[in-house]
Symmetry: C2
Subunit: 394 residues, 2 copies
């Protein structure tokens, strides 16, 4: 057999992610039991419709598209009017005055992270992330020789512990990657904790030639419940960078629109933004999709119906409580991260599968002993899964 693909890609494929494996187990299960008897909590595909205004916006875009260059190239950093509008919104959201030039439109938050990592990482550079964490992060920095270093936080709530993170800083540390509201835990990091972390990073950076960036990945920012607020990270440090997308907030995941915004107080901010604009181009994204940019711009102040997500969250909490599972009620995002009874997450996911429930083992997020359940599914599925959860937990 010829060697068609790169060794590290072959290795990564052999170690398919747990999300992927459970997805495949789910397909088997649907065949065996019929789709109506499968309760799939494995994947996070936002299923609440985009805001109704999206229809009108697209009708306008339809008329506009067939002009010369209506769907043509643009500056690699994005449509100037979109960047300006986004800067205004982020200025309010983050409490830092941003201009359009401080924002680069990207192919989703994923594209933002990859373009950013390509711009700043040297081979061997380390990116610290509190565990559990979104497993794709490892790929995003690994493509360029970066090394993701997960730092376990303490269950059951996995609160951010700055000192634990900072204890892992080395000469090769290039970024600390935060994700709040968090996938998979649903945790929202409090302002005071973030401030402590940022102050410590600023102190470290005072004497470092290669500063440590504080990256705040915020695709779930609007998903905050029970009156919770998501504290902004950008004002806490000149080394702060915010990345986000409209995939969840506008159910626009398939169209791929996101952004990077850099604190204008950063020494050398223009160089960094020019570099990200360049990697955004040379990584073949070229620019964020034009229809998506125009759509997101028109819907900047809109969002999907969050009450639907909140109702699901409450339903899931009831179901898990009834089944006797131990968990921290998530304040944000749309995931639950309960403990696996007995401590073996893979065994427990196998048990759940026997009852038609698809969950992902916590080790898929760098944290064995827990499971992840995604609530981006119809509330009826959550409610109908209650007996299955009870039986599996017996």
């Amino acid at each position: 057999m010829k060697q068609l693909i790169a060794r590290d890609i072959a290795d990564a494929m052999a170690n398919a992610s747990w999300i992927r494996r459970m997805f495949e187990a789910g397909n088997e299960l649907r065949k065996a039991r019929g789709p109506e008897n499968v309760f799939d909590f494995s994947l996070g595909n936002p299923d609440v419709p985009p805001p109704a205004q999206a229809r009108d916006v697209l009708h306008v875009l339809a008329e506009d598209a067939v002009r010369p260059c209506g769907l043509g190239y643009m500056p690699n950093a994005g449509l100037p009017e979109f960047r300006a509008a986004l800067a205004r919104r982020l200025s309010e959201e983050q409490g830092v005055a941003l201009e359009g030039e401080h924002v680069v439109a990207t192919v989703g938050a994923a594209g933002a992270l990859v373009a950013f990592f390509r711009a700043v990482l040297e081979r061997g550079d380390e990116v610290l992330v509190p565990a559990p964490y979104f497993v794709e992060y490892g790929f995003y920095c690994g493509h360029f020789g970066g090394v993701l270093k997960p730092v376990p936080m303490r269950g059951p709530d996995f609160a951010l512990e700055p000192e634990t993170l900072l204890a892992q800083v080395t000469d090769r540390t290039r970024a600390i990657l935060l994700n709040s509201p968090n996938n998979p835990t649903g945790a929202i990091y409090p302002a005071e904790t973030l401030r402590r972390l940022a102050a410590a990073v600023d102190r470290l950076n005072a004497t470092r030639e290669r500063p440590i960036f504080i990256l705040s990945d915020e695709p779930y920012r609007v998903f905050a419940f029970d009156g919770a607020e998501v504290p902004p990270v950008l004002p806490l440090s000149p080394w702060a960078v915010v990345l986000g997308s409209f995939s969840k907030s506008l159910s626009l995941a398939g169209e791929r629109v996101g952004y990077v915004a850099v604190n204008p107080a950063m020494e050398g901010v223009d160089t960094l933004l020019a570099a990200v604009t360049m990697t955004n181009r040379t990584l073949g994204y070229v620019n964020a999709p034009i229809l998506g940019q125009r759509l997101a711009m028109a819907l900047l102040d809109a969002r999907v119906d969050l009450s639907v997500y909140d109702a699901r969250r409450r339903a899931m909490a009831r179901v898990l409580t009834e089944a006797g599972l131990r968990f921290t009620l998530p304040k944000g995002a749309f995931y639950f991260f309960p403990e696996a009874p007995g401590g073996d997450d893979v065994a427990f996911c196998g048990k759940l599968l026997e009852h038609g429930i698809i969950a992902v083992p916590g080790r898929g997020f760098g944290m064995p002993g827990y499971i992840r359940l995604c609530c981006a599914v119809d509330i009826g599925i959550i409610e109908r899964a209650a007996p299955a959860f009870r039986e599996a937990c017996r």
Copy 2:
């Protein structure tokens, strides 16, 4: 000053591409002379409107978008119906029977190349390309430690010479990258020449553990004039891979839709496609933009008004002939690549600038001594530039 960005990115930014430099010179020139006195032939932004059907398609998509998951995630390789439709069209175009599974939808042809290179290149692998060539290719493989090795073809027509290319094959050669119709020369490679190249690669691959791929980058496929046909590359070798986009053929450049298609006769084709699907995901593209996929699917058999491009081509040929420049009339794409009188392309571009004409030195495409002129501009600009060309060539 702190070190914010990676060294190789800093180096690349310091050596800004000639296209970029001329773009900036153009902006200066517009300020100085007024935009109406500047004839900008530097950039290839397709300015002919998308086919008129695009309007109706987008109106339909507007109604469709606001359903649950209307703009949501999809399989990373693309919408199954788009892949199937694309496979049907590529089957006709290439003369190889393809199924949807042999096609991966990507973020433009650029995203296709980057995802492909990530899937197959080890550090130090070489990619041979006939020079002159599209300069971004160097970045596309360089991100992952690949090395682009330009192999100069002979002017003034820069016909493909398989033997010259093959003489540069080493143990580290991983791909030969073809681009026909060619940017910057407008050449269309003849079937017989391609067949000779493919046969030689097949012979080499018979004993290589790591085969050499033949990559055919075809974003300009429909831009063929004077009755010219663009011979398909896919049927010529089991190691052939076709990459393309709708950026030029549908003036859809800003929406970013392209594809990779692999010859099903390739031993291990499924592994390769799975790897590209995976790198398409983990490089943060995740999937090609959904609105663009749906639009391209509805317009698969449509194209922009090519007669507009042909008229520009003829006008440019007249203008250059009148000015006394030596060039090969391009059969395809929308570029001219004339010789720089005196042989110094940078000096001649400077001379042209003095007369309000923006061109790009051939060295920006790995071929000094020539200049590139892009005809994706209004025919009036070409015609009005005639006196300026004449004076600059005096």
